[in-house]
Protein backbone atom coordinates (compact mmCIF):
# COMPACT_ATOMS: atom_id res chain seq x y z
CA UNK A 1 0.00 0.00 0.00
CA UNK A 2 2.81 2.30 1.03
CA UNK A 3 4.64 1.54 -2.21
CA UNK A 4 1.50 2.36 -4.20
CA UNK A 5 1.22 5.83 -2.55
CA UNK A 6 4.88 6.57 -3.28
CA UNK A 7 4.48 5.55 -6.93
CA UNK A 8 1.45 7.89 -7.15
CA UNK A 9 3.60 10.77 -5.77
CA UNK A 10 6.30 10.12 -8.41
CA UNK A 11 3.78 10.16 -11.25
CA UNK A 12 2.46 13.56 -9.95
CA UNK A 13 5.96 15.05 -10.19
CA UNK A 14 6.29 13.69 -13.74
CA UNK A 15 2.99 15.30 -14.68
CA UNK A 16 4.16 18.60 -13.22
CA UNK A 17 7.38 18.28 -15.22
CA UNK A 18 5.41 17.64 -18.40
CA UNK A 19 3.25 20.66 -17.67
CA UNK A 20 6.35 22.80 -17.13
CA UNK A 21 7.85 21.63 -20.41
CA UNK A 22 4.66 22.50 -22.27
CA UNK A 23 4.55 25.92 -20.58
CA UNK A 24 8.23 26.61 -21.37
CA UNK A 25 7.70 25.50 -24.96
CA UNK A 26 4.73 27.83 -25.28
CA UNK A 27 6.77 30.61 -23.70
CA UNK A 28 9.67 30.04 -26.11
CA UNK A 29 7.31 30.45 -29.09
CA UNK A 30 5.87 33.66 -27.63
CA UNK A 31 9.32 35.01 -26.70
CA UNK A 32 10.71 34.34 -30.17
CA UNK A 33 7.83 36.32 -31.71
CA UNK A 34 8.39 39.14 -29.20
CA UNK A 35 12.13 39.28 -29.90
CA UNK A 36 11.41 39.29 -33.64
CA UNK A 37 9.05 42.23 -33.14
CA UNK A 38 11.66 44.04 -31.01
CA UNK A 39 14.33 43.53 -33.67
CA UNK A 40 12.01 44.76 -36.43
CA UNK A 41 11.00 47.86 -34.49
CA UNK A 42 14.65 48.60 -33.64
CA UNK A 43 15.61 48.35 -37.32
CA UNK A 44 12.67 50.51 -38.43
CA UNK A 45 13.53 53.14 -35.86
CA UNK A 46 17.16 53.19 -37.04
CA UNK A 47 16.02 53.48 -40.66
CA UNK A 48 13.71 56.34 -39.71
CA UNK A 49 16.52 58.25 -38.05
CA UNK A 50 18.82 57.57 -41.02
CA UNK A 51 16.20 58.77 -43.46
CA UNK A 52 15.56 61.95 -41.47
CA UNK A 53 19.24 62.82 -41.37
CA UNK A 54 19.68 61.98 -45.07
CA UNK A 55 16.68 64.15 -46.05
CA UNK A 56 17.95 67.10 -43.99
CA UNK A 57 21.40 66.84 -45.60
CA UNK A 58 19.93 66.46 -49.12
CA UNK A 59 17.84 69.59 -48.52
CA UNK A 60 20.92 71.51 -47.37
CA UNK A 61 22.85 70.41 -50.48
CA UNK A 62 20.05 71.55 -52.78
CA UNK A 63 19.75 74.88 -50.95
CA UNK A 64 23.50 75.52 -51.28
CA UNK A 65 23.32 74.63 -54.97
CA UNK A 66 20.37 77.00 -55.46
CA UNK A 67 22.15 79.84 -53.69
CA UNK A 68 25.70 79.45 -54.95
CA UNK A 69 25.78 76.77 -57.63
CA UNK A 70 28.56 74.21 -57.94
CA UNK A 71 31.13 76.66 -56.49
CA UNK A 72 29.16 76.71 -53.25
CA UNK A 73 28.97 72.92 -53.19
CA UNK A 74 32.75 72.68 -53.38
CA UNK A 75 33.51 75.63 -51.11
CA UNK A 76 30.95 75.17 -48.37
CA UNK A 77 30.39 71.43 -48.24
CA UNK A 78 33.54 69.98 -49.81
CA UNK A 79 32.03 68.33 -52.90
CA UNK A 80 34.58 66.96 -55.37
CA UNK A 81 33.97 66.88 -59.11
CA UNK A 82 34.02 63.41 -60.68
CA UNK A 83 36.19 63.12 -63.76
CA UNK A 84 33.59 61.07 -65.61
CA UNK A 85 30.47 62.91 -66.70
CA UNK A 86 27.13 61.38 -65.80
CA UNK A 87 24.39 60.28 -68.20
CA UNK A 88 23.12 63.08 -70.50
CA UNK A 89 26.48 64.82 -70.11
CA UNK A 90 25.65 66.01 -66.61
CA UNK A 91 28.38 67.16 -64.25
CA UNK A 92 28.71 64.88 -61.23
CA UNK A 93 29.97 65.91 -57.79
CA UNK A 94 30.42 63.60 -54.82
CA UNK A 95 30.83 64.11 -51.09
CA UNK A 96 31.85 61.59 -48.43
CA UNK A 97 29.60 61.64 -45.40
CA UNK A 98 29.98 60.30 -41.87
CA UNK A 99 27.48 58.05 -40.12
CA UNK A 100 25.31 61.07 -39.19
CA UNK A 101 25.08 62.04 -42.88
CA UNK A 102 27.28 65.09 -42.31
CA UNK A 103 30.37 65.98 -44.39
CA UNK A 104 33.21 63.71 -43.26
CA UNK A 105 35.97 66.38 -43.41
CA UNK A 106 38.44 64.16 -45.23
CA UNK A 107 38.93 61.67 -42.38
CA UNK A 108 36.44 59.16 -43.74
CA UNK A 109 37.35 55.61 -44.71
CA UNK A 110 36.95 54.23 -48.21
CA UNK A 111 33.57 52.63 -47.77
CA UNK A 112 31.44 55.49 -46.44
CA UNK A 113 28.09 57.09 -47.02
CA UNK A 114 28.03 59.35 -50.03
CA UNK A 115 26.09 62.25 -51.41
CA UNK A 116 26.10 62.53 -55.18
CA UNK A 117 24.74 65.44 -57.15
CA UNK A 118 24.21 65.38 -60.89
CA UNK A 119 23.80 68.80 -62.46
CA UNK A 120 22.50 69.24 -65.97
CA UNK A 121 21.98 72.50 -67.80
CA UNK A 122 19.66 72.96 -70.73
CA UNK A 123 18.46 76.20 -72.34
CA UNK A 124 18.77 78.36 -69.24
CA UNK A 125 17.30 75.77 -66.92
CA UNK A 126 19.50 73.91 -64.47
CA UNK A 127 18.45 70.60 -62.96
CA UNK A 128 20.11 68.88 -60.01
CA UNK A 129 19.46 65.41 -58.62
CA UNK A 130 20.87 64.65 -55.18
CA UNK A 131 21.27 61.00 -54.24
CA UNK A 132 22.05 59.91 -50.69
CA UNK A 133 23.78 56.52 -50.73
CA UNK A 134 24.68 53.92 -48.16
CA UNK A 135 28.11 52.27 -48.38
CA UNK A 136 28.37 48.88 -50.03
CA UNK A 137 27.82 45.88 -47.77
CA UNK A 138 25.51 47.51 -45.27
CA UNK A 139 22.38 45.45 -45.85
CA UNK A 140 20.81 46.03 -42.46
CA UNK A 141 19.78 49.55 -43.41
CA UNK A 142 18.82 48.73 -46.97
CA UNK A 143 15.27 49.58 -47.93
CA UNK A 144 12.71 46.89 -48.52
CA UNK A 145 9.18 46.45 -49.80
CA UNK A 146 7.47 49.71 -50.92
CA UNK A 147 10.53 51.87 -50.33
CA UNK A 148 12.73 49.56 -52.40
CA UNK A 149 10.13 49.49 -55.18
CA UNK A 150 10.38 53.27 -55.43
CA UNK A 151 14.11 52.95 -56.04
CA UNK A 152 14.30 49.76 -58.13
CA UNK A 153 17.86 50.18 -59.36
CA UNK A 154 19.45 50.99 -56.05
CA UNK A 155 19.71 47.46 -54.68
CA UNK A 156 18.95 48.96 -51.29
CA UNK A 157 21.87 51.35 -51.52
CA UNK A 158 20.05 54.59 -52.24
CA UNK A 159 18.31 56.01 -49.21
CA UNK A 160 16.86 59.18 -50.63
CA UNK A 161 16.69 61.06 -53.91
CA UNK A 162 15.84 64.74 -54.32
CA UNK A 163 15.41 66.63 -57.57
CA UNK A 164 15.38 70.40 -57.96
CA UNK A 165 15.40 72.89 -60.80
CA UNK A 166 16.31 76.55 -61.12
CA UNK A 167 16.57 79.18 -63.81
CA UNK A 168 20.09 80.37 -64.38
CA UNK A 169 20.63 84.12 -64.53
CA UNK A 170 22.37 85.23 -67.67
CA UNK A 171 24.78 88.12 -67.52
CA UNK A 172 24.14 90.63 -70.30
Amino acid sequence: MKGKVERKGGSGSGLFLMEMIVVVFFFVICASQCILAFATSERMSRQGKDLNQAVTMAESIIEVWKAEGSDGLAGRLGFVSESMAGPDGSQVYVLKLNEKWQPADGQAEENTRMARIEIREESGMSEAVVTMENPLGLPEIAYRKEAAELLPDSGGRIVFKLKAEKYERFSE
Binding site: E6, G9, G10, S13, G14, F16, L17, M20, I21, V23, V24, F27, V28, A31, C34, I35, F38, A39, S41, E42, S45, R46, G48, K49, N52, Q53, V55, T56, E59, S60, E63, V64, K66, A67, E68, G72, R76, Q102
Partner: protein
Amino acid sequence: MQQKREQRGQIMGTLFTMLLFLVFVMCALFTVLAGGKVYENIGRRMADNYTGSVALQYIANKIRQGDEAGMARVIEVDDTSVLELSQDFESGRYISWIYYYDGSIRELFTRQDSGLGLSDGIPILECEGLSFTQDGRLLTVETAGEGGGRLLLSLRSAGGTK
Protein backbone atom coordinates in the same frame (compact mmCIF):
# COMPACT_ATOMS: atom_id res chain seq x y z
CA MET B 1 17.37 0.50 -1.06
CA GLN B 2 14.45 0.73 -3.48
CA GLN B 3 12.86 3.43 -1.33
CA LYS B 4 16.12 5.40 -1.28
CA ARG B 5 16.42 5.25 -5.07
CA GLU B 6 12.82 6.41 -5.48
CA GLN B 7 13.45 9.27 -3.05
CA ARG B 8 16.56 10.34 -4.99
CA GLY B 9 14.60 10.16 -8.24
CA GLN B 10 11.89 12.30 -6.74
CA ILE B 11 14.46 14.89 -5.56
CA MET B 12 16.08 14.93 -9.00
CA GLY B 13 12.67 15.36 -10.64
CA THR B 14 11.80 18.27 -8.38
CA LEU B 15 15.25 19.78 -8.86
CA PHE B 16 14.95 19.52 -12.64
CA THR B 17 11.51 21.08 -12.53
CA MET B 18 12.80 23.92 -10.38
CA LEU B 19 15.72 24.39 -12.76
CA LEU B 20 13.33 24.52 -15.68
CA PHE B 21 11.23 27.05 -13.83
CA LEU B 22 14.38 29.11 -13.17
CA VAL B 23 15.23 29.04 -16.89
CA PHE B 24 11.65 30.12 -17.61
CA VAL B 25 11.93 33.04 -15.17
CA MET B 26 15.35 34.05 -16.55
CA CYS B 27 14.07 33.99 -20.14
CA ALA B 28 11.01 36.01 -19.17
CA LEU B 29 13.24 38.55 -17.46
CA PHE B 30 15.57 38.69 -20.45
CA THR B 31 12.65 39.22 -22.84
CA VAL B 32 11.23 42.02 -20.71
CA LEU B 33 14.68 43.64 -20.40
CA ALA B 34 15.28 43.38 -24.16
CA GLY B 35 11.86 44.92 -24.81
CA GLY B 36 12.59 47.70 -22.36
CA LYS B 37 15.93 48.44 -24.00
CA VAL B 38 14.37 48.53 -27.48
CA TYR B 39 11.60 50.82 -26.20
CA GLU B 40 14.22 53.09 -24.62
CA ASN B 41 16.21 53.23 -27.90
CA ILE B 42 13.12 54.02 -29.93
CA GLY B 43 12.11 56.74 -27.46
CA ARG B 44 15.59 58.27 -27.60
CA ARG B 45 15.64 58.22 -31.41
CA MET B 46 12.19 59.81 -31.51
CA ALA B 47 13.42 62.59 -29.23
CA ASP B 48 16.53 63.00 -31.42
CA ASN B 49 14.37 63.20 -34.53
CA TYR B 50 12.23 65.78 -32.80
CA THR B 51 15.12 68.14 -32.11
CA GLY B 52 17.11 67.23 -35.21
CA SER B 53 14.32 67.29 -37.71
CA VAL B 54 11.03 68.72 -36.46
CA ALA B 55 12.65 71.88 -35.07
CA LEU B 56 14.64 72.44 -38.27
CA GLN B 57 11.65 71.82 -40.55
CA TYR B 58 9.46 74.12 -38.46
CA ILE B 59 12.00 76.93 -38.76
CA ALA B 60 12.56 76.21 -42.48
CA ASN B 61 8.81 76.54 -43.12
CA LYS B 62 8.67 79.79 -41.16
CA ILE B 63 11.56 81.20 -43.21
CA ARG B 64 9.98 80.15 -46.52
CA GLN B 65 6.72 81.80 -45.46
CA GLY B 66 8.34 85.09 -44.56
CA ASP B 67 11.12 85.19 -47.15
CA GLU B 68 10.58 88.68 -48.58
CA ALA B 69 13.26 91.19 -49.50
CA GLY B 70 14.62 92.73 -46.32
CA MET B 71 12.11 90.92 -44.13
CA ALA B 72 14.22 87.96 -43.00
CA ARG B 73 17.42 88.53 -41.05
CA VAL B 74 19.47 87.26 -38.14
CA ILE B 75 20.01 89.63 -35.24
CA GLU B 76 21.62 89.43 -31.79
CA VAL B 77 19.43 90.18 -28.78
CA ASP B 78 21.02 89.84 -25.32
CA ASP B 79 23.78 87.56 -26.75
CA THR B 80 21.16 85.28 -28.32
CA SER B 81 20.97 84.81 -32.07
CA VAL B 82 17.42 85.57 -33.14
CA LEU B 83 15.76 85.04 -36.49
CA GLU B 84 13.62 88.05 -37.24
CA LEU B 85 10.85 87.83 -39.82
CA SER B 86 8.96 91.04 -40.47
CA GLN B 87 5.51 91.61 -41.93
CA ASP B 88 3.80 94.86 -42.87
CA PHE B 89 0.14 95.28 -41.98
CA GLU B 90 -2.12 98.34 -42.19
CA SER B 91 -1.56 99.03 -38.52
CA GLY B 92 2.21 98.94 -38.86
CA ARG B 93 5.13 96.52 -38.96
CA TYR B 94 4.97 93.30 -36.98
CA ILE B 95 7.91 91.00 -36.25
CA SER B 96 8.23 87.30 -35.53
CA TRP B 97 11.25 86.34 -33.48
CA ILE B 98 12.36 82.72 -33.37
CA TYR B 99 15.08 81.94 -30.84
CA TYR B 100 16.28 79.67 -28.06
CA TYR B 101 15.51 80.71 -24.51
CA ASP B 102 15.33 78.84 -21.20
CA GLY B 103 15.42 75.26 -22.60
CA SER B 104 13.08 75.68 -25.51
CA ILE B 105 12.66 77.21 -28.93
CA ARG B 106 10.39 80.21 -28.58
CA GLU B 107 8.44 82.40 -30.92
CA LEU B 108 7.38 85.97 -30.31
CA PHE B 109 4.97 87.74 -32.65
CA THR B 110 4.54 91.39 -31.79
CA ARG B 111 4.53 94.97 -33.07
CA GLN B 112 8.03 96.13 -33.82
CA ASP B 113 7.89 98.84 -31.16
CA SER B 114 6.08 96.85 -28.48
CA GLY B 115 9.14 96.63 -26.22
CA LEU B 116 8.67 92.93 -25.51
CA GLY B 117 11.79 90.83 -24.92
CA LEU B 118 13.10 87.28 -25.17
CA SER B 119 11.30 86.06 -22.04
CA ASP B 120 7.91 87.04 -23.50
CA GLY B 121 7.95 84.52 -26.35
CA ILE B 122 5.78 81.39 -26.43
CA PRO B 123 7.71 78.10 -26.05
CA ILE B 124 7.25 76.03 -29.22
CA LEU B 125 9.27 72.91 -28.45
CA GLU B 126 11.94 71.80 -26.01
CA CYS B 127 15.48 71.79 -27.30
CA GLU B 128 19.06 71.92 -26.03
CA GLY B 129 20.12 74.90 -28.12
CA LEU B 130 19.51 76.76 -31.36
CA SER B 131 21.67 79.12 -33.36
CA PHE B 132 21.35 81.05 -36.62
CA THR B 133 24.11 82.38 -38.85
CA GLN B 134 23.70 84.24 -42.11
CA ASP B 135 26.29 84.46 -44.85
CA GLY B 136 24.93 86.27 -47.87
CA ARG B 137 21.98 84.33 -49.22
CA LEU B 138 22.68 81.32 -47.05
CA LEU B 139 21.13 80.97 -43.64
CA THR B 140 22.40 78.20 -41.35
CA VAL B 141 20.09 76.85 -38.66
CA GLU B 142 21.71 74.57 -36.11
CA THR B 143 20.19 72.71 -33.18
CA ALA B 144 22.41 71.55 -30.33
CA GLY B 145 22.38 68.36 -28.29
CA GLU B 146 22.56 64.63 -28.91
CA GLY B 147 20.14 64.63 -31.85
CA GLY B 148 21.10 68.08 -33.04
CA GLY B 149 21.24 68.83 -36.74
CA ARG B 150 22.10 71.53 -39.22
CA LEU B 151 20.09 72.87 -42.11
CA LEU B 152 21.28 75.34 -44.73
CA LEU B 153 18.65 77.50 -46.37
CA SER B 154 18.98 79.82 -49.31
CA LEU B 155 16.94 82.99 -48.99
CA ARG B 156 14.98 83.47 -52.21
CA SER B 157 14.83 87.18 -51.44
CA ALA B 158 18.65 87.10 -51.33
CA GLY B 159 18.55 88.58 -47.82
CA GLY B 160 18.52 92.10 -49.28
CA THR B 161 16.81 95.17 -47.98
CA LYS B 162 13.37 96.38 -48.92
